[in-house]
Assembly symmetry: C2
Homo-oligomer: 472 residues x 2
């Protein structure tokens, strides 16, 4: 089998041959056996693969899969470093591992996350790490000598589902989130109830200690530098499926802002308080949730690409009895747009519409920013490596209608990813695969074996291409 | 001081003199000292009386006030019976206590409840019981011999705030709610968290046992019959205050229906799922909550009395993370109207509007009836007794504008009360007092000392009038 050509030209681009073939069946078996061993939940069909996942960050299932992960990569000659927030960095040596000054050469990394949402699926994050593992297995088995070291990282708590801090540990590593903030983050009430911690919700640091993944290595991008970072991920949207393409070459990720909106009215008896004297916090919140969607609808309608979304995922009302008009309602807003200016405009539109609703209904409204992430524009070298690998793998495809078309397209990520944090310091890009019905963060999330394998093949091709061009 | 005249005419109406004066200061002291000892919460001002209450049914504060209540009434010559759902019936003998066949004579009862909402006030329920206590103290001190026995009942779990079954124990007594249903009702998750029972929420029966109020007497209206039942209560609405009247003579209570509405959509990623492909359960629920209010607005606008309300007090969304479109949203509807036909029409209007929203947004909607209470029309003899007592006490009043007007008015109750359950079997009526800003079920709920005392005076007057007319 052809190994990539790494001709020893001292300057300029090295030529690159064809990408070695991974063992697709082995990768799919690895995905399903590890999901079934650690965290499967929410059965939706009869086949053994037809369940979702509930492998929440730092729970016992996460601990098991982490230990298994370390064993697997060590068997391939990797050393594994665990940092202060539990990130696992596996590194396999290449031809050159130290520079002229005796300093370590930064590896070319692959990476994603092994944690899931509480009602998550088998592909979001998991595919990226286990395709990386398959890539390392292929490199190892086929005796491929890479220019520099090749790495694979399992980022801690990407989902923010148990500990509500999304892309938490890559954020600490990138210097975006203080270490203490991450360590002190408590599990949500819903998660605390699952783990019997309602009386005293656990913190990230406590759980890192409990499962043995509180490492000594500083959680910083200088302590663990990267030549680049490539992440394979399901698209989580409908574009590839709709256009009948196999691969998305990800140019960047849209920005997103998270807010917690608190509406304060007046509690009063539901049976005896006339409509016109009410200050119903939840009734006002309901109108705001609808208005937030309206902001997204008009933003989306204003461009052909239909960009811009607003979502409310969390809502509550107090005191929370059927016969009391709520004095307080709280809800989240997740607002996204690829353009920072348009994102800001959408936030402003929500603010002014909510203020108008508050004025009409006699309530008060407070905004608290939970997270504000600028759009990420991925590095052109990484994007080029992904595109070349995609062209090799799926240059043309035949549609169901019998037409021939390019098998990949450039695409923007709607979601935030660990790669966006890496991209603040080192070159990064991502590879997207087809996602059935565009659905993720749900048990029925699905990427076909064929599409998982194509994606892993492009991941390996991109990494080896990037590595081949390194001047070490 | 004049005792009521009970001339021994064998037939026809007995004449009635003037009602003895209660000790208003003592009653107000009793209200505030017992609130401050057992369950005060939610301070809103500097004065010692400026807190609300959180005396949830069958908690330790409720246990304390129940034991205190029994001591107080026993000191007045009452016997206290506790039934299987913890209702406390205090009975003070009258002139005639058994009939010609040796059977007990049913007492003329006063009653209300000593439990509160989690963010409740000092008057809802508490005023009714403690005004009844003051009436018994007055009768006892002044040596008034009543025709028949006089009773005072403290109904268990009227609020349904901890154990979500409103007017629970009068409902069991009236045969509306099966005993086992009440016994097996679990505390809400919010209440369980307060009491450290999150892992295993307590049931009504367990808590009755724990606090020593699981009585032997069958909880039935035949085991504890009543000649009548009079309940003093804050209006919980703005009508008396707005019209500058002191007393509401309650003719009946509007019907109400409680529903739990479940909306099912599809969970999906908030960043990557285009608006037009979403089935957002919470976005649909928000529109339904707003539409429910719209149904009430148009119903209320169609009559001069502005009858008809719809309220959502409880809402939740799953899976409950900011970046996942909810697959499920759930909310309550509390729908009320004095006319059963209009109540049914309002429910129908909500059903059809919700179905239309579901159709447009691609979600499914399910309704579950939690409670369906027909309007109560109080007994004319009881209403007449209340009206005569009100006429005696506040026949005319002078408004702030210097005009003289009738000090009481006939009124409908917007809320459900234990009296509605009593009224299914025995004559009942209620007396309403002025409620500041119409607010109840909130810590700032307030009825002035003057208005509390006027109300208690009318309660005593109504009970003695009803008793004086009994042929025993």
């Amino acid at each position: 089998m052809a190994a990539p050509s790494t001709s020893a030209a001292q300057t300029g681009r090295r030529s690159y041959g064809t990408t070695p073939r991974i063992n697709g069946q082995r990768m799919m078996d690895t995905i399903h056996t590890t999901c079934e061993a650690w965290g499967q939940a929410h059965r939706y069909g009869d086949h053994h693969t037809e369940t979702g996942m509930a492998r929440l960050a730092l729970d016992d299932n996460d601990a098991h899969v982490r230990r298994w992960f370390a064993e697997q990569v060590e068997a391939l000659g990797c050393t594994v470093t665990v940092d202060q927030v539990g990130n696992q960095f596996a590194v396999r040596p290449g031809k050159t591992n130290t520079d002229a000054n005796g300093n370590k050469v930064a590896p070319t990394f692959m990476g994603s996350h092994l944690d899931t949402q509480a009602t998550g699926g088998r592909y979001d994050g998991i595919l990226g790490v286990l395709a990386g593992l398959e890539a390392l297995r292929t490199i190892h088995e086929q005796g491929i000598e890479t220019q520099g070291p090749i790495g694979l990282v399992n980022w801690t708590n990407e989902e923010g589902a148990r500990f509500p801090l999304i892309t938490m540990a890559s954020g600490v590593w990138a210097g975006v989130t203080p270490l203490e903030t991450a360590w002190n983050t408590k599990e949500t009430p819903a998660a605390a109830a699952i783990y019997g911690n309602s009386d005293r919700p656990a913190t990230v640091k406590e759980e890192l200690q409990r499962i043995g993944f509180l490492g000594d290595t500083p959680a910083t991008h200088t302590a663990m530098p990267m030549a680049a970072h490539f992440e394979l991920h399901i698209e989580q949207g409908p574009i590839l499926e709709t256009e009948q393409r196999k691969i998305g070459v990800v140019e960047g990720a849209q920005g997103y802002a998270w807010y917690e909106v608190t509406v304060r009215g007046k509690d009063a008896h539901a049976g005896t308080t006339p409509l016109h004297t009410r200050k119903d916090a939840l009734l006002a919140a309901a109108q705001m949730i609808f208005a937030g969607n309206g902001v997204a609808q008009s933003e989306s309608a204003s461009t052909p690409e239909k960009k811009g979304v607003v979502t409310t995922g969390v809502v509550s009302a107090l005191p929370g009895t059927p016969n009391t008009i709520p004095h307080t309602a709280q809800f989240t807003l997740d607002i996204r747009h690829p353009s920072p200016e348009r994102l800001a405009a959408m936030v402003d539109a929500c603010r002014s519409q909510f203020a108008a609703i508050a004025g009409k209904t006699g309530v008060e409204v407070d905004w608290k920013c939970l997270s504000d992430n600028a759009p990420a524009i991925f590095h052109p070298d990484c994007v080029a490596a992904v595109q070349a690998a995609a062209e090799e793998e799926v240059g043309t495809v035949t549609t169901r209608e019998g037409e021939t078309q390019q098998g990949w397209r450039r695409i923007w990520s709607g979601a935030g990813h660990d790669s966006c944090n890496v991209n603040k310091h080192y070159p990064a890009s991502m590879i997207f695969t087809v996602t059935r019905d565009g659905l993720s963060h749900t048990p029925v999330e699905y990427c076909s074996p064929e599409d998982c394998i194509v994606g892993a093949q492009v991941l390996l091709g991109a990494v080896l291409r990037f590595d081949a061009k390194r001047e070490l």
